[in-house]
């Protein structure tokens, strides 16, 4: 009697599985995480050129302002807001497992989508503005504020925008505490000796702590660089100026340290879902460690060396 097992076909059929909100949330989270990782890997390398090949940097940042890139920014920012907010949902529910219940999960998925759309809209507005000012308007032969696009809130400090956005998220996420801890019966905790923390335990904890920290840092980074400033106004002098401010330098450096590792470790976890056997998984871990060292090394060296004037 021959039984057939095909991992490949169960993967393909799995895509067609009629899961519900939780399944969609998981798929979006995975796809968005991998998409952001792809972007960050490229971004770290081309930004590091400010220290090695300044003229190539100017060329690269020119590409950030090109029409195809600006259009893909709609998707990039959608991925960033969704992954961040859904990640927060995971972090919170993992901390209060009784929130992982049927009603809340279906409900919070739609809240997360709505909230992501809400946070994405301002970003989309700025992207559209850039597309109009630098591509559409010149193509139509209009006189377009070109170098000086009309940026609303320009006088407003970033912090003023971040605060309402973040409190909105927290409020919405906390709003589903309606059935708080209903299922936990025993109040006096017992203690158990647990195995020492292995790579998988550390990795699980790291994904949560780093994700939480990255949420704020990345949004501020994107808001400041891509939206309020815009690729057309970024050049070597701008980067030099940002890195001259210790707070901005520190924020970018923290992103560099956490985001690359978070993304690559996420990739390791994803690959581990499909690779069998210790040898393959160990090989992936080694390759990913090397990729991390190379990427962060490149980026960190550039950040310490500073911008090279062309």
């Amino acid at each position: 009697m021959a039984a057939i097992t095909s991992r490949f076909s169960s993967f393909v059929e799995g895509v067609l599985y009629r899961g519900r909100e939780g399944h969609w949330a998981f798929i979006f989270h995975r796809v968005s995480g991998l998409a952001i990782l792809l972007f960050v890997a490229i971004h770290v390398v081309d930004t590091s050129w400010v220290a090695y090949w300044p003229t190539s940097y100017e060329h690269a940042i020119g590409l950030y302002g090109s029409l195809p890139f600006l259009i893909s920014e709609y998707f990039l920012f959608a991925a960033i807001v969704y992954h961040g907010i859904n990640g927060l949902n995971i972090i919170i529910k993992d901390t209060f497992p009784s929130w992982w219940n049927k009603h809340l999960q279906a409900n919070s998925f739609w809240k997360i989508i709505a909230l992501s759309a809400l946070c994405w809209l301002p970003a989309a507005y700025f992207v559209t503005l850039n597309i109009y000012n630098f591509h559409l308007c010149p193509a139509l032969g209009g006189s377009c504020g070109g170098a000086e696009p009309p940026v609303p809130f320009a006088g407003l400090s970033i912090t003023y925008l971040i605060v309402p956005v973040v409190s909105l998220i927290l409020a919405a996420v906390l709003a589903y505490g309606g059935t708080f801890n209903q299922n936990v019966v025993a109040k006096a905790p017992r203690y158990v000796s647990v195995p020492g923390r292995n790579l998988e335990t550390w990795s699980w904890l790291f994904m949560r702590w780093s994700g939480g920290l990255l949420l704020l840092l990345i949004w501020i980074h994107v808001l400041a660089n891509a939206l309020l400033t815009g690729a057309h106004h970024i050049d070597l002098a701008y980067v030099a100026d940002r890195w001259a401010q210790p707070l901005n330098w520190g924020a970018t450096f923290t992103i560099l340290m956490l985001a690359v590792l978070h993304g690559l470790n996420g990739l390791r976890a994803v690959l581990g879902d499909y690779l069998h056997g210790q040898a393959a998984n160990r090989a992936v871990a080694v390759v990913i460690l090397i990729a991390w060292l190379v990427l962060t090394g490149l980026g960190a060296y550039a950040m310490f060396a500073g911008v090279q004037t062309a």
Binding site: M1, A3, I4, F11, G19, D94, N101, A186
Partner: protein, 238 residues
């Protein structure tokens, strides 16, 4: 009511790959999907192979994919999954070796079940009266939901992590571990957590929630898995 039922068929002796076959059936809206399968097997095609025993949602032998979602054929009513003249799809569980038609090999599933030591571990001497180890109703309640499990595998085979890699211990085994880890008469928690903390243990859970939605016994599977993760991360059994 009349409708069509499309069943995934596989005969290992004559076929390389499974194929679909469609049957015209007539059933009461209040009939169960299992009755429809019986009708096909008994009236139309005796070669249709499926597993079932109690027919009342207790033995856990007839979990399968019904309209693309895991469920027990004996608990799903026809009126909830198909309309007059519509099409009902029935396929075997995903992620386990396919043996024939709707039957999968459950051995990998039970191997994971055994790995968490699904039995009470207590090496203390029996109570003086030689009878049972008493437990407060609250302490009994703490792990009650895990005891509802009938080992039908609907949860484990709905899990994306398990589809990708059957070395993953899977939701059902974690629920079974939870049932003993959170039992205050049990002393084997540390050994079970050792197993669950491994590379293919509880951390592979990505909270995709398919397990909770698939469970025919209404066990909040993702929640119980989350409690096991917390126990591993903090050493506290709350």
């Amino acid at each position: 009511m009349k409708f069509k039922v499309k069943i995934k068929r596989y005969n290992p002796e004559t076929e390389q790959k499974p194929h679909f076959e469609t049957y015209e059936v007539e059933a009461d809206p209040g009939d169960r999907v299992l009755d429809v399968l019986h009708y096909v097997k008994w009236q139309q095609d005796g070669t249709l192979t499926l597993r079932r025993s109690c027919a009342h949602g207790i033995c856990g032998s007839d979990a399968m994919r019904i309209n693309g979602q895991n469920a027990l054929a004996c608990k799903v009513l026809v009126k909830d999954v198909v309309k007059e003249g519509g099409l009902l799809t029935v396929e075997p569980l995903l992620g386990l070796p396919l043996v024939k038609d709707l039957i999968v090999d459950m051995e990998p599933f039970f191997e994971h079940y055994r790995s968490v030591m699904p039995f009470l571990v207590n090496n203390d001497a029996l109570p003086a009266d030689g009878r049972e180890r008493l437990q407060s109703p609250e302490a009994r309640d703490r792990f009650d939901k895990g005891t509802w499990c009938i080992l039908c595998a609907a949860c484990t085979t709905s899990c994306p992590s398990f589809w990708g890699n059957d070395q993953y211990i899977g939701p059902a085994a974690i629920v079974q571990a939870h049932r003993f880890v959170f039992d205050d008469r049990d002393q084997g928690a540390a050994d079970r957590l050792e197993v669950l903390g491994q590379q293919f243990g509880v951390w592979r859970c990505r909270t995709a929630f398919n397990c909770t939605n698939a469970c025919p016994r209404e066990i909040p599977v993702t929640q119980l898995i989350g409690e096991v993760k917390q126990a591993l991360a903090t050493g506290k059994l709350e």
